[in-house]
Symmetry: C2
Subunit: 141 residues, 2 copies
Amino acid sequence: MFLRIDHVGIACHDLEEKIAFYESTFGLTVVSREVNEEQGVREAMLHVADGDNGASYVQLLSPLHPDTPVGRFLARRGEGVHHIGYGVPDIAKAMAEIAGKGVRVLDERPRHGSMGASIAFLHPKDVGGVLTELVEAPKRS
Amino acid sequence: MFLRIDHVGIACHDLEEKIAFYESTFGLTVVSREVNEEQGVREAMLHVADGDNGASYVQLLSPLHPDTPVGRFLARRGEGVHHIGYGVPDIAKAMAEIAGKGVRVLDERPRHGSMGASIAFLHPKDVGGVLTELVEAPKRS
C-alpha cells in the first residue's frame, strides 16, 4: 500500500530560520512554499530524493496562529517531528482499506496537501503515537 | 549531502505487536530483525521503498530495559517517532561537515547501525528538536 516515505513533517517556530538551517547544514533545496489556511500552516517542502515511486521531502511547518493543530503541538511538545507522510497510489482506496482495519481516518474525504497532493490523516492513537498522513501525488501530465 | 530518507525510527512498547500492525494495516514487510545491545534496543526494519540512492524503511524500536535511551523516551513521551535517519554517501565526511556548521555530533566515530550500516546521531537540540541520524549503508559487493 505504501509507495514511499513521502515526507517527514517537522514543526518549527520560525520557518525561514529553519529553512536556512536545513539548506546550509544538510544541503537540501526548497522546491515549494505554501500557506495552507485550512490546516493553519505556512510550509516549505525541501527535496531529499527521487525514487522509483516518487520523491521524498522534508516538510517544515510553522503555525499561522497559536490556536491551530501545529501551534498547539508546539506549545505542548516544542519543535520536532509532527507527522510522517507515506505515498499511496490511490488515496480513496487506501483510506477505505485502512478504515476497514479499525484505524480511524481523520478526514472523511481527501483534502488538499502540498504541491497538489490529495491527503488524509490517520488518528495517531491508532498508529502507535504517530500522526500518519496518506499522500496521493498529483498525476503527472 | 542527504541521499534519501533512510528510515523513520518509531519507539514502541511491544515490538511484535507493532510489527504485526504495520504488516497487516499498511502491507509493509520485515526485512531485518536485530538486537543492538550498545543502543539497548530490539528492532525491526520494514521495507517501504527502493530509490535511486538506496531504500527507505520504517524502523520499529523497543527498549531492552527501561534505563536505555528508547526506554526513557517512552517513559517521557510515550510511543511515537523517536528519530529520523538520512542516508549519506560518506559518514565520516558528513559528520565532519555537519560538525563544522556548529551542530553537535553525538558520536565521535561512526558506530554500528541496522543491517550493517555505519551511523552517527546529531544532537536534537541543534536540529530543531529532531533526533537526526546519519546512515551510510554498507557497500554492496
